[in-house]
Symmetry: C2
């Protein structure tokens, strides 16, 4: 099929410009009272429609085009791997059913923190900053799932869709149970029934599109989804370095003093984050500098840059009446306010232009590298946290749709400014949704359970999301070490010290930290943290290669083991280990646990740190403070950079090639190391240059090192 055919199915040609019109596609189509047959809309991607879908949905109001070239390179699948949906439009909205086979397992639904495998659960796709129970709520929920049968399904809506994942059944028509003296539990009665269909209710919608993504395996279904979204992010190099967010009351001089002290302490760091105190009127948002703390913003940013830092600014979107953009935004805002601020109508172009234009002129143009977009989610529990679902906005969306779309269009608003300037950015955002794959923003949360943070990381890869299990405070030294070790192996390595004046390694106790009372012998803890942070700098080439692969092929750089090994029953419930790139398996440790069990997929594995060959599918690893369990596919080559103070420093491009086993990597070209093209001369290694596959980034090979 040609490009024109492809785009006909998923929207107008305008999508090719990279900025699609706000609403396109089936706007004028006939209303369907039943689901249409699957229609091929892109290689291996089918669509089925019922009724009159809404203009604002992940696909229909998308603003980044699909990566059709990337899709064209995936394995060809000619037949839809699932029967089309059945369903109807009622006064309640749309209801639809999709087949589910016995034994078929389901994953996805966005940044789920509380569960992993989803078959037999009820999931409500609702943006919620406080997903305290396992209901499907998340600050980045996605109405997309993949199954062990090798396909994915996207129900294209921002509404609070409910997915009954094989747990409901039609009314029985004949006796099936036989009388036993045993008294069955509800659970056993259900198990005897087997799975029902996947049933989805999309509330209030008069129609919806359903998209089917072929595999043949789960990972290709995810790749297809990601390329359909526009392809993965390739962050700027500095974005993959180490980040540190300063305490919110610090002024320009204090932040710069902190920045210098990190350099003096040899703590690598690329990004300094400022929290609410940079703004006047915080916690309301004016987007104007607090002139007492930051009398010369441009000078401050330049001074930070001279120290090798990028500066990232916290904000939320709820615009205070004292903001310079408030008067102009009023006509383009919702009818409810949040914290005495207005809610910009980001799905509409005017709000993006006014809000984004100001950010571009006043902040990007003085050198701000990116933003942390806070509070753009919702909550049932923290009163008045956001606008109600029945809000109305000038663009025509209601509060329910807006909660789904708000984070995405907020990212667009900011990203557009960098794109217009030909600059790259990498930032943080607290809400996202479907088709977020190409956005250079990483999710984070006010929650703080370490195990949930890791589960979120494991789940994020199913839905085109990036997640930062940030380090804030810690219960004790071990907790600090464990969290730091985890965040190093994540999309964004950050300590968020917004409420402690000094780095956590100087004093874990929050009150004492803020009184500048440091722990005795804190330098020892700092040295351990420095060692861990240095791993991040050493991993930079490998991480860049993994993200380049994400951009090229849609393969998530961080993903659950089951995505690569979908048919292995030992793997299907593993929610505390994950793949980083194509050959590293990470198994975080949690404070207070003296050991941990690690399940390894089939194939040969070596200990990453020692090179020791591992035998057996399960390992019980005693907890050691100096490292966490990391495994590498046996026979791998692995680039390992020198430790640079920041990613722009030349050390960051000087690598040692770690050679595991015979270095004869059997699952890929021997000239490719984690997506990085290497020239090399012999099995034991002697080479001199390398470059990443997606962008020309040249590395100098300083040495080859046999591990183990």
């Amino acid at each position: 099929m040609n490009r024109r055919d492809v785009l006909k199915g998923i929207g107008s040609g305008a999508v090719l410009s990279g900025i699609a019109p706000q609403s396109y596609g089936l706007a004028a189509a006939e209303q369907q009272t039943n689901f249409t047959a699957w229609e091929l809309v892109a290689p291996g991607i089918w669509k089925s429609t019922i009724g009159r879908p809404e203009a604002n949905s992940p696909v229909r109001s998308r603003r980044i085009a699909p990566d059709l070239d990337g899709l064209g390179k995936l394995v060809r699948v000619n037949t839809a791997p699932l029967e089309g949906p059945t369903g109807s439009v009622t006064s309640r909205g749309v209801e639809l059913q999709l087949k589910l086979a016995p034994g078929e397992l389901m994953y996805g639904f966005g940044l789920q923190m509380l569960s992993f495998q989803q078959q037999n659960k009820k999931r409500t796709i609702r943006v919620n900053a406080d997903p305290k129970v396992d209901s499907g709520d998340s600050h980045a929920p996605v109405p997309f799932y993949v199954t062990t049968h090798g396909y994915g399904v996207l129900v294209d809506t921002f509404r609070h869709a409910t997915f009954y994942c094989g747990e409901i059944h039609a009314r029985p028509v004949e006796p099936k149970t036989s009388h036993t003296q045993e008294i069955n539990s509800p659970q056993t009665v259900r198990e005897r029934q087997g799975p029902g269909p996947v049933m989805v209710e999309v509330p209030r919608a008069a129609g919806v599109d359903v998209y089917l993504f072929a595999g043949p395996q789960m990972r290709q279904a995810v790749q297809r989804y990601n390329l359909f979204a526009g392809g993965g992010v390739l962050p700027p190099e500095w974005g993959l370095g180490f980040w540190y967010r300063a305490e919110m009351h610090l002024d320009a001089q204090q932040v710069l003093a902190l920045a210098k002290s990190l350099r003096q302490d040899d703590i690598p760091c690329d990004v300094l984050g400022l929290e609410p105190g940079w703004q006047s009127h915080a916690y309301s948002c004016t987007f104007a500098w607090d002139k007492q703390r930051f009398p010369d913003p441009a000078g401050f940013v330049k001074a930070a840059q001279q120290l090798g830092y990028h500066v990232n600014l916290w904000e939320h979107a709820f615009t205070d009446p004292a903001s310079p953009i408030f008067p102009e935004l009023v006509p383009y805002s919702g009818n409810f306010g949040v914290w005495n601020g207005l809610v910009p109508d980001f799905p509409g172009e005017p709000a993006r232009r006014i809000f984004g234009g100001y950010h571009g002129r006043e902040l990007v143009d003085i050198g701000i590298s990116g933003f942390k977009l806070d509070e753009c989610d919702n909550s049932d529990f923290t009163n008045g946290w956001s606008f109600p679902d029945n809000s109305s906005f000038p663009s025509g969306v209601d509060g329910e749709v807006m909660h789904g779309e708000f984070g995405l269009r907020y990212q667009d608003t900011i990203l557009d400014q960098f794109k217009q300037r030909g600059q790259s950015t990498y930032g943080l955002v607290r809400s996202s949704h479907a088709l977020a794959t190409p956005y250079p923003f990483v999710l984070y949360s006010d929650l703080y359970d370490h195990r949930e943070f890791i589960r979120a990381l494991v789940n994020s890869g199913f839905s085109g999301l990036l997640w930062c299990p940030e380090v804030r405070d810690a219960r004790d030294e071990e907790d600090l070490i464990r969290r730091l070790q985890s965040v190093i192996f994540s999309p964004l390595a950050m300590v968020n010290a917004w409420y402690i004046r000094n780095p956590p390694w100087m004093q874990i106790d929050r009150d004492k930290n803020n009184q500048d009372q440091f722990s005795e012998g804190w330098e020892h803890l700092r040295d351990r943290c420095r060692e861990i942070i240095s791993w991040r700098m050493r991993l930079l080439p490998y991480l860049q290669a993994a993200f380049a692969e994400y951009e090229e092929s849609g393969m998530p750089p961080f993903r659950a083991l089951v995505m690569d090994y979908p048919n292995d029953p030992m793997i299907q419930d593993v929610d505390d280990e994950y793949m980083m790139g194509d050959r590293l398996l990470i198994a975080p440790l949690f404070a207070g646990e003296p050991e941990r069990k690690v399940v390894l997929p089939e194939g040969e594995w070596q200990d990453f740190w020692t090179g020791a060959v591992v035998s057996g599918r399960t390992q019980t690893i005693p907890a050691a403070m100096n490292a966490i369990p990391v495994f590498i596919k046996a026979g791998s080559l692995m680039p390992w950079a020198d430790v640079a103070p920041h990613a722009q420093s030349p050390e960051a491009r000087r690598i040692t090639v770690r050679v595991y086993g015979d270095g004869d990597i059997r699952w890929s070209s021997p000239t490719k190391v984690g997506g990085l093209r290497l020239r090399w001369d012999s099995l034991t290694g002697r080479g001199n240059s390398a470059q990443s596959s997606a962008k020309v980034r040249r590395f100098e090979i300083a040495s080859w090192q046999k591990i183990g």
Copy 2:
């Protein structure tokens, strides 16, 4: 206003028959695009309507008539105490706003387990058996609240209405915040704003009625709501005795042996409950006896009656294909099944007739005294627990409405059978909703947190609900004692031993209990439990009087202190103490707590047990195992029955009058003791007969006793 005028406002005259037609009222009324002005529909009760309300709502599909006589006796209020609602009907449903004043506090919303005062919270009124977070969900949620300004509001819907209780705000129009060096938190920004209105969204509805209940104080607003619902329950005497539910596998002989052993051990008991094992095919429901365990059901019931017991049967409504009524019910059931059973369409008359008729003929007619209606709620977490919200039913309701209405109409289905036979019943139900006041069913739950159980009891009285904090197992002896002491002071005093073969006082450990391994010296614990259970029998006359008051005047027999003392800031957050009847204040103890703080309302109080006069508004009471803190209004008379083995035994009508202080009760007629009319001769007491005010129940006064 006369009776005809009153009924015109709230439905047709058919309501007077006690069985209203399924849908009446404004069925043919004009559609309103704005809320109508308050219309007086009963003394002190106003209604306002928008759009075209649904036929199935708590008021419009009610099946029990308002108690107009009772309403006529309340204090007269001529002016609506609140401005009428404003709002609109949109494609989302109905949204409406009601005023809320600064400092005005809100209570109610049904059986809330996780919070008490509701102003500044978001509440979603959704039936949920697992209300794990404080979102408003409950297995008995009620869209009714009362405030400290002395009125109540009912939004008449079964849908998942969301109440934003003063926590949302309109978009700001001008600067209000001034710049400070302090960085405000979201909380401080909100606090500066003050409360917003109460905003309610009723999803999917094309119209709704809102009812306003005048006080002038909160307690009269609750009374008015309860009388509007039909007035409070007066349970049969045996229902207020002690209940014991037997382990589910026991057969007829084993249950009777257990019943005899309770008598032998002098444990008072009125009701024996059977759990799933009485039925064939459990856990599916056939409503047919398991002929192996219970070969002669009528004989079993008769044998139990001869021992002085009533028999109560567990069931749920999801009718298995093996049930005799399955074929006839199929056309009157929903399109989804639950646990291989059908879901009867209880809002429709045919399902009630078929389902109820069978229960009457087969079970009530052999002497069954009542039922425990299980599983009629819903859950997001226990997969496939119930039918989905988008179910459809022959009566025209969808699954969402059905979840609100199901528990009520299930109670009607059963209650009708007893009414037709002129019999009274008292049972248990796991879901209820608005206007449940006149139903002789007490709520219970699979949850088991003791403090939440007490909070539920405290909250229940705001919404016409009864709640049983049942005793199942216990962590240790103290936990057992504390739970038993609580349940004695509740609407239904029950040990639910459905998973332990022997009474918990014989062995607390579940496994050992089921292996008949008893604790050493268990008899001592039994004796302590017997002493506590005996309180229940002693309280019978007082409880009957409290319930008679409930029936007559709508005053809840169990209620939060704030209902009687709404303007006392020390009382407004007290969620672990409650009034039982008009003069007892109960302050439960929780296991593991060495003492508890008790806040007393204004007025003079005496220790119930010792008569000691209490001074000071707050008391710190050290935990004693033999009792929990109970206080009585100083100067009270209090009937205290002899301990009977069951309520039909003559001891239950023989009372000692406990005289506190001078016995000169100052807030009521001296001839009335807790609603019980007593003839008495002198201050120190000498009388000889008494009868309850509502029904002719005669008591013999055996003695008068000065306490303290």
